[in-house]
């Protein structure tokens, strides 16, 4: 349904075919990157269930970021459903007001092209013709469309989604208080695994921008291995400590 809506927008909106193609790429690109940020944040929240108590400040900041994204997605989702008829221009304007600025306003004004790692703002900063600013290759655009469909599903079920996210966040905070590995799996079951393919895209973007030796730059482990390994690790350590207690007594 969304695809048809897009086509309609193509004809209603931009007259330039190239522009519409870029338009299709621009808007999902923002959603895509926002989605990947959301996934990254959820993974981060899960990964912090290690042996040592997680850093509460970090968890709170990530959770707030997740909430922010979720709120915006809900707004956008609702808004896009209502405003199917709107021209591409209007949608760009609306998105600009909530765009993710990863660069200083000075750079924005100068229209600098950030190599490799692209910023969300750049994608739809009116530069529809500047396909070079797109980080997505044609191969991944297919993936983008697939993800877009999933996005639609999310938008249609935005209310349910909101509930899911809220539940996720609640679970996260509960587990921060009482560490229970089981809820970690529950959390992962809510996240659509197809999005993790974006990791390669993200890390691909990362390698374009040399960030120096960054130990943190590794592809995300798949959710199941993370939980199972952390479960095993915690089990083993618990076992060690139980043995310790027994030996001491």
């Amino acid at each position: 349904m969304f695809m048809r809506g897009l086509k309609r927008k193509c004809f209603d909106g931009e007259e330039d075919i190239e522009g519409t193609l870029a338009g299709i790429k621009a808007i999902p690109s923002y959603n895509l990157q926002r989605q990947s940020l959301l996934d990254m944040s959820l993974v981060k929240l899960q990964l912090c269930h290690m042996l040592v108590e997680p850093n509460l400040c970090r968890s709170v900041l990530i959770a707030n970021t997740v909430r922010q994204i979720q709120e915006e997605m809900t707004q956008d989702g609702t808004w896009q459903m209502i405003n199917m008829q709107n021209t591409g221009q209007a949608s760009v304007d609306r998105l600009v007001s909530t765009d993710i600025l990863c660069r200083s306003s000075r750079e924005q004004a100068e229209g600098k092209h950030v190599p490799g790692y692209s910023t969300f703002s750049k994608d739809f900063e009116g530069d529809q013709a500047q396909d070079s600013s797109e980080t997505m290759s044609t191969a991944s655009s297919v993936q983008a469309l697939r993800n877009l469909q999933s996005n639609v599903w999310e938008m249609e079920n935005s209310q349910e989604n909101k509930g899911n996210f809220q539940k996720s966040l609640d679970q996260i905070f509960e587990t921060l208080e009482n560490k229970s590995p089981n809820s970690v799996e529950d959390l992962f079951s809510e996240v659509d695994n197809s999005y993790y393919d974006l990791d390669t895209m993200l890390t691909g973007m990362m390698s374009n921008t040399k960030m120096g030796h960054c130990d943190g730059l590794e592809p995300f482990p798949s959710p199941t291995t993370t939980t199972s390994s952390s479960n095993c690790k915690s089990d083993l350590n618990e076992l060690d400590h139980i043995v310790e207690i027994l030996v001491e007594s």
Binding site: V52, N64, K112, F173, M211
Partner: protein, 438 residues
């Protein structure tokens, strides 16, 4: 502001990552804490007229194990032995005292010197064994004889079980009787002599943990007013509290918050606004805060915005997503005032640290690394280029090493001597120019 700096002391390599650095009130002693729970204290050698170059070098004075790793059986979690903060108590007698804390427990340590030993006991022999009484024919008075200096460190108090969450700050009150410890959600007031109870003076834990959106990131007592303290939050606000107002200081006396710049808004705005450190000026009139990209000077009398803002590494603003991914965006940098409150200092990445002169508005970037720092060498100012013209020796943003971060720095209370912790190395720099000229 020091134009150039000379290394006073050849850096010391420690096995573990240094997690805190603190000069005592005279600057004679410098304490460092590390990830392994150890504290190393350096002492400044008195200046010798014979060797003017070796004026006041810092040498190891004492090393001791402050905290050990523990295990919380209730939560099945390890408690790290990493020393989060060290604070010196004002010296009241021949002994020195300091507070050291890990995530959960604060300890008071007493450091004493022994350089004399009594000899000539009547009942004990040289080794301490009891003498055969029949061999004792006359009485003698034991005499104090000099011996090699021995530094003894003893734990005098252990303040345990006061915190559910991780302690991020401790601060000794100007009354020299009390101190406070702050964790993510609560701040406790302790009496230095009483370990079995503390007063909770701030509690921001919501009734429902699901509603938690803000945590305490740092706190400090006012240097002169024993009733005032400040605490910073993860949302970038500062709260000044007066303990005379009520027992529980949940309601602030003043709230310092800068409105968000709408043109710079992003999903990372809140994270980069989180205050990682807050320090009162020596005068007590200003506060210095560090967030991810800036250091700000606040006037206690103005709550609406800081009086000065300095960009530490604004070139990172376009890299926030990557820095979020590799967790660098959560790095907590500290900040410091110089003795006269005219220069402020903070660390950055690539072993760079920055100094800002509040009067001349000049700033400098210096590097703390083995390659660029030979003893007695003058540090060369560094520059990060963001594209455009690149000068020789400039570093491009993309070549910065984000694993080399300078989180902990300290400035001597009166002189232009700074201590920089670069991962597991400690660097001590001194101003080349005679400090009398400043």
């Amino acid at each position: 502001m020091p134009d150039c700096a000379v290394i006073l002391l050849d850096f010391t390599s420690q096995a573990d990552i240094i997690s805190t650095v603190e000069f005592n009130h005279t600057g004679e002693l410098l304490a460092t804490g590390d990830k392994g729970g150890r504290v190393v204290i350096f002492q400044r050698e008195p200046e010798s007229k014979n060797e003017p170059y070796s004026q006041g070098e810092y040498n190891v004075y004492s090393t001791f194990q402050s905290h050990e790793p523990e295990f919380d059986y209730l939560k099945s979690l390890e408690i790290e032995e990493k020393i989060n903060k060290i604070k010196w108590l004002p010296q009241q007698n021949a002994a020195h005292s300091l507070l050291s804390t890990n995530d959960k427990t604060i300890k008071l340590w007493k450091i004493t010197e022994r350089d004399k030993r009594p000899e000539g006991y009547n009942l004990k022999d040289e080794e301490g064994k009891l003498k055969d009484l029949s061999t004792v024919t006359s009485l003698q008075v034991p005499v104090l004889k000099p011996m090699d200096l021995m530094v003894e460190v003893t734990p005098r108090r252990i303040f345990a079980n006061g915190h559910t969450y991780h302690v991020n700050s401790i601060s000794v009150n100007s009354d020299c009787e009390t101190y406070m410890s702050a964790d993510d959600l609560r701040i406790n007031l302790w009496h230095l002599a009483i370990t079995d109870r503390s007063f909770n003076i701030v509690d921001i834990k919501p009734a429902n943990m699901e509603d938690l959106t803000e945590v305490i990131t740092a706190s400090e007592f006012h240097p002169h007013h024993c009733n005032l303290f400040v605490y910073s939050s993860s949302k970038g606000s500062l709260r000044l509290c007066d303990m005379r107002a009520s027992a529980l200081c949940d309601k602030h006396s003043k709230l310092y918050e800068e409105p968000e710049d709408p043109s710079n808004r992003s999903f990372f705005s809140e994270i980069i606004s989180s205050v990682s450190d807050v320090k009162f000026s020596h005068s007590g009139r200003y506060m210095l805060t560090r967030d991810y990209l800036t250091v700000k000077v606040w006037d206690l009398n103005m709550e609406t915005k800081p009086v000065e803002t300095y960009q530490v590494h604004d070139y990172l603003r376009s890299k926030l997503c990557s820095l979020y991914e590799n967790d660098c965006i959560f790095d907590k940098f500290e900040c410091a005032w110089n003795g006269s409150d005219s220069v402020i200092m903070t660390g950055a990445y690539n072993n760079f640290f920055r100094m800002f002169d509040r009067n001349t508005k000049r700033d400098v970037t210096l590097e703390a690394s083995r390659e660029s720092s030979k003893p007695r060498a003058i540090l060369k100012p560094r520059r990060v280029c963001v594209g455009g013209k690149r000068r020789k020796d400039d570093i491009s943003v993309d070549s910065l090493d984000f694993t080399k971060k300078i989180l902990h720095t300290a400035w001597h209370p009166t002189e232009n001597i700074i201590a920089i912790a670069a991962t597991n190395n400690l660097y001590i720099f001194q101003d080349k120019v005679n400090s009398e000229m400043h």
